[in-house]
């Protein structure tokens, strides 16, 4: 059985270590926060906050307190606020240990495309280009194939890039793959999924 969204998020949470400062992207990456367990993880929200707490209780929403997805959130005892230039100073400066992001396409060289579909989706890259250029480790969580059953792990990305050679680890519904020098390495398969299943579902070179 391939992993569902929550199982992919839970698997991504295993990559996080005690004491890490981490940035979570929108979508499945946001769910990772539900699976960190007892680990001491500080979440950064790039609109200017370290120590992001859960959603507020109904009636306690604060318009001055949102995350990078513009959702209302809460603060924690450890929370610190800062401006956007300082926020991206810590991202670009390599102070954030890891970012967990979604993707449209990833190449076997670790190129990432997740911000634009020419002629269709032109919303902007937000902070994604800064994150992949600056943080210690880039972990991508994504479906292995698109709706048409085509591999999203490619030899070369076809969409405009967010970053070149930036992805370290890919977690899909089928398993976990690491970006190596000559292609992708299978680290783990989802339950009931074989190496051959992953190879058959992947366009990128698997070594």
């Amino acid at each position: 059985m391939p992993w569902d969204r929550n199982q992919m998020a839970a698997r991504a949470a295993q990559e996080l270590e005690d004491g890490m400062y981490v940035n979570l992207g929108i979508g499945i990456p946001t769910l990772v926060a539900n699976y960190v367990g007892d680990k001491d993880i500080t979440l950064q929200s790039e609109n200017g906050m370290l120590g992001m707490g859960p959603f507020p209780f109904e009636g306690e929403e604060d318009p001055d307190l949102i995350n990078a997805g513009k959702q209302t959130i809460t603060e924690l005892p450890r929370t610190a606020y800062f401006d956007s230039a300082t926020s991206f100073g810590m991202i670009r400066g390599g102070k954030i240990a890891a970012a967990i992001l979604g993707a449209m396409e990833v190449s076997e060289k670790g190129d990432l495309a997740n911000w634009m579909i020419p002629g269709k989706l032109v919303k902007g890259m937000g902070g994604a280009m800064d994150l992949v250029a600056g943080v210690g480790r880039v972990i991508v969580v994504m479906d292995h194939q698109n709706k048409h059953g085509e591999s999203k792990l490619l030899k070369d990305c076809t969409l405009p890039l967010t970053g070149k050679g930036v992805v370290d680890l890919i977690i899909t519904n089928l398993g976990v793959l690491e970006v190596g020098h000559k292609g992708l390495h299978i680290v783990e398969c989802a339950p009931g999924v074989s190496h051959d299943d992953i190879r058959a579902a992947t366009e990128a070179t698997i070594v």
């Binding site: 318009p63 001055d64 606020y81 230039a85 890259m125 902070g127 405009p160």
Partner: protein, 234 residues
């Protein structure tokens, strides 16, 4: 030193002209200068270039300036919440210069700090790097990005004293300090003007030297994505 004005219209008097570059604070609808945006709509100036992380939503924030077609160009990182924006962009009425969010913030900060350009590794190997100078430092490639020097900054703070020393609240700080810094003139709207001396000098987020005109007013502070969790039954 007289920085306090009675209204947004009065505070912008003599500062607006067609085709100018305005830097605006805010992230999404959080910490945006609502009152000054309304006053710019009323003024009717057109051909504006606006450096702002986002462009509001349909009918609110900078989205109001889209409805009246006063914006010619946006310098932003994300404009996804606005149908009118997409319509004007796809029909060629509106120009967009996409900036990575951190690059946009640093371009404002740099402009305010008198730095005309800086090198960053953000965007290397992507569309953003096209046409920009590349330079290697210690074996890694960087691109040259330019500081932003705006004709006018419009920002929003929580409290300011009569000299413009300002304090922001929670994540409403976001782009406001760098946007304030990069303008030749900065107009700030606040929820409360407090007597000079009543803010702790150690806890000022933006020193008043960056702020030229101040207004106080009521803010709608609209929430873009209201997300909540359930209370667990005791």
């Amino acid at each position: 030193m007289k920085k306090i004005y009675a209204s947004a219209d009065a505070a912008l008097d003599g500062l607006l002209h067609d085709d100018m570059l305005i830097a605006a604070g805010g992230f999404g609808l959080c910490g945006i200068p609502e009152l000054l945006i309304d006053a710019i709509v009323k003024s009717g100036v057109t051909g504006l270039t606006i450096a702002s992380n986002n462009c509001g939503v349909d009918g609110f924030g900078l989205g109001k300036l889209l409805d009246t077609k006063q914006i010619a160009k946006m310098m932003s990182s994300y404009v996804g919440e606005n149908d009118e924006f997409m319509r004007q962009y796809l029909s060629g009425e509106l120009e967009i210069e996409f900036n990575p969010q951190g690059t946009l913030a640093e371009r404002m900060r740099a402009g305010g700090a008198g730095i005309p350009g800086f090198y960053t590794k953000t965007g290397v190997g992507t569309q953003v790097a096209e046409g920009k100078e590349h330079k290697d430092f210690d074996g890694e490639t960087y691109i040259l990005e330019r500081g932003i020097f705006a004709d006018l900054s419009i920002v929003k703070a929580w409290k300011a004293d009569e000299t413009g020393n300002a304090v922001f609240r929670k994540t409403a700080r976001n782009f406001n300090p760098p946007a304030a810094m990069c303008g030749r003139v900065c107009v700030m709207e606040v929820e409360e003007i407090v007597p000079t001396g009543s803010l702790d000098p150690d806890l000022i987020h933006l020193p008043g030297i960056y702020v030229h005109r101040i207004i106080q007013g009521e803010h709608e502070k609209r929430i873009e994505q209201r997300t909540v969790r359930k209370r667990e039954e005791a």
